[in-house]
């Protein structure tokens, strides 16, 4: 079992739900990467999705796109984020999952990228614009370096396709909970429970729900559908505004504590 999957299984075996926050690396400058990751680690998150800014983030909504534009303005790149991770690797215990669009990886060079992932202690990779059909090259290059390639399934994926994605995905299966891009949602489709039930039957690895999850209540309700949640835009927004309490409340919700008095 891979490091990433093991971290999620541990939480699952303890009867809890996984909580994976997404951060935009270098939103606020590269110097924020280390303190942000270490503080989330201290809060007891299951893994951290480290987002890399890109000029054309087609899968992302306005919150993450704007955070990406701020990071780009700070000169943040895939290369210097991985170098930054390598600089405090000894202090990182929580599995890191890099989320980047494909072109920066190609420009880096697949082999060089794989080596930099090892140096930075990266355990998983999510490339939102590389679907199953194009993903073999990533597994071939990165698996020998201990990096899982996490695939996404969507509400539009038919069962036969879900089965193939579930078989290929590593670490966990990233179940997209909306038709659309990242960002907060007030409500979700009504047939989500059936969708997740089918997913869990087909997946031999954990299933995490992501996209649109923004409140402690949603962390609980969406987490219950699978093995936990990924929370992006809300975390990015809270970190940008220095609202650590909001992040703590979301993590607490994943552990079964909802503090209704928490400032949101």
């Amino acid at each position: 079992m891979t490091t990433l999957q093991q971290a999620i299984e541990q939480v699952k075996n303890a009867g809890n739900k996984a909580f994976v926050p997404y951060i935009m690396a270098g939103d606020g400058g590269l110097s924020t990467v280390k303190p942000t990751i270490l503080s989330l680690q201290k809060m007891g998150v299951t893994a951290i999705e480290v987002g890399i800014p890109f000029t054309d983030p087609v899968a992302d909504g306005p919150t993450i796109e704007q955070a990406g534009e701020r990071a780009l303005a700070e000169g943040v790149t895939l290369r210097n984020v991985l170098e930054t991770l390598a600089s405090f690797r000894q202090e990182i215990a929580v599995p890191l999952v890099v989320m980047t669009y494909f072109n920066p990886v190609l420009a880096y060079g697949l082999e060089q990228f794989a080596s930099a992932c090892v140096a930075g202690g990266v355990k998983g990779l999510i490339v939102p614009d590389v679907p199953l059909e194009e993903s073999a090259i990533l597994r071939q290059t990165l698996n020998p370096h201990g990096v899982d390639i996490v695939q996404l399934v969507s509400l539009t994926s038919p069962p036969e396709r879900i089965a193939r994605i579930a078989a290929a995905s590593q670490g966990f299966v990233y179940a997209v909970t909306v038709n659309g891009i990242t960002g907060a949602r007030a409500s979700f489709a009504t047939d989500l429970e059936g969708h997740f039930q089918r997913l869990r039957e087909m997946c031999h690895i954990p299933v995490l729900a992501g996209f649109g999850i923004s409140t402690p209540q949603q962390v609980v309700s969406m987490g219950a559908l699978g093995d936990g949640v990924i929370v992006g835009s809300t975390i990015v927004e809270a970190l940008h505004k220095g609202n650590v309490a909001k992040v703590e409340a979301l993590v607490a919700a994943s552990k079964g504590t909802i503090e209704t008095s928490t400032p949101l």
Binding site: E65, E134, T156, V176
Partner: protein, 402 residues
């Protein structure tokens, strides 16, 4: 016999190493369905007859292949023919694809259309097709392009289309594609995306090519009627590459016909301010396809620069990248200044005001015609008319022309 033209794309959507399907998972099922629906429609005579009907009765095809005698005499070289795509309804070749895809959307039971536009030609063509076929339409357009092409925005609105301004990134065509893709991801169940160029994830480059092939198919028949032989060279401007692939594709298997694609060199390739991804880009992935792409060392996509909004895109369609790599087509570039000269040359000699995009093809033709013999034949794809650009051209030439 082996046909090079029909050997691509593969069923995975590859043109050699180019193309592919680099999109979020949410779109994959829609792309697979689209591919099946397109193949089925093109094999169904009911659909192809309907398309042929609208192209003839509504678009005004076939377009003339006009012998530009004055231009030929002025340049003193090869005989120059113009394929008059500017005479199509809405003033450019874009309508060929817009009508085709709108009919396809209707056949697939989709009621809503989303599209991107740069100069506004594809947006106007799509808005037109949607008005005709009673489809709801939203067009995304970069805020910078909206400023440059006010009249086309108003035209789209008159046609009942909603134009959404895109305020992110460089606020031009590539950002409009990002916004259109996001909209499609969100509304994929009832919406078809009419991509306007030979770009994007498979099957879009093939669909756009096959709906634009009529340009080259007509040209082939017309030149055989007029000259009794095929041309020595075919020239087309290339942004994403829709008019060029439509013109080239029926000639790809005719090895004696040279294919010239003309990229926009903007202020000059060496200035870095251009839109010539084949001349000055590297291999990369944007908007679903592996292709030549303007980018920096970190893989961040760079802004394209051209006086012509329709060529202002940082990538080149995957089939063009392939034709370049195997040496079947030659790609060269023309600067803003040269394009303006081409525009004036054609206006003065033939009384035809070309679009700034097409003016790149004219300027390049002027260069090569002079080096060819008087009995050689060049066909230029005059992809659009220049009325939309008068404002831009006047702003640059103002003093000496007025």
């Amino acid at each position: 016999m082996h046909s090079l033209a029909n050997s691509v794309p593969t069923k995975e959507g590859r043109y050699g190493k180019f193309g592919g399907q680099y999109v979020p998972e949410t779109l994959m099922t829609a792309l697979i369905e689209l591919q099946a629906a397109f193949d089925e429609a093109m094999a169904d005579q009911v659909f192809t007859n309907e398309l042929a009907y609208y192209l003839k009765e509504y678009v005004g095809r076939e377009t003339p292949l006009y012998f530009a005698e004055n231009l030929t005499n002025e340049l003193g070289g090869a005989k120059i023919y113009l394929k008059r795509e500017d005479l199509n309804h809405t003033g450019a070749h874009k309508i060929n694809n817009a009508i085709g895809q709108a009919l396809l959307a209707k056949r697939m039971g989709k009621k809503k259309i989303v599209a991107e536009t740069g100069a506004g030609q594809h947006g106007v063509a799509t808005a037109t097709a949607c008005a005709l076929l009673n489809l709801e339409c939203v067009v995304f357009m970069g805020a910078e392009d909206i400023k440059r092409q006010q009249l086309n925005v108003f035209r789209m609105e008159l046609l009942g289309t909603k134009v959404e301004s895109v305020e992110t990134g460089s606020k031009t065509l590539k950002d409009a594609v990002n916004a259109a893709l996001r909209y499609w991801v969100t509304n994929v169940e009832d919406t078809h995306y009419i991509l306007g160029s030979a770009l994007g994830p498979h099957p879009f480059p093939k669909i756009v090519r096959d709906f634009q092939r009529i340009i080259g198919v007509e040209t082939r028949t017309q030149i055989l009627e007029k000259e009794g032989r095929l041309p020595d060279a075919v020239v087309a401007c290339i942004g994403g590459g829709s008019n060029a692939i439509g013109m080239f594709h029926p000639f790809v298997d005719d090895e004696a016909v040279a294919l010239y694609g003309v990229e926009a060199a903007g202020s000059g390739i060496d200035t870095g301010k251009h839109a010539a991804a084949i001349a000055g880009g590297q291999l990369g992935v944007l908007h679903g396809a592996y292709m030549y792409l303007l980018q920096d060392d970190n893989g961040f996509v760079q802004e394209a620069h051209s006086i012509s909004a329709g060529l202002d895109y940082p990538g080149k369609g995957p089939e063009h990248c392939y034709l370049h790599d195997i040496g079947r087509a030659k790609f060269d570039s023309i600067t803003d200044t040269e394009a303006l000269e081409g525009l004036q040359l054609l206006s003065r000699t033939e009384g035809i005001l070309p679009a700034l995009e097409s003016a790149h093809a004219i300027a390049y033709t002027a260069k090569i015609a002079q080096e060819m013999d008087a009995d050689d034949i060049i066909v230029v794809c005059l992809s659009g008319r220049g009325d939309k650009d008068v404002h831009t051209v006047r702003a640059v030439l103002g003093g000496e022309q007025s």
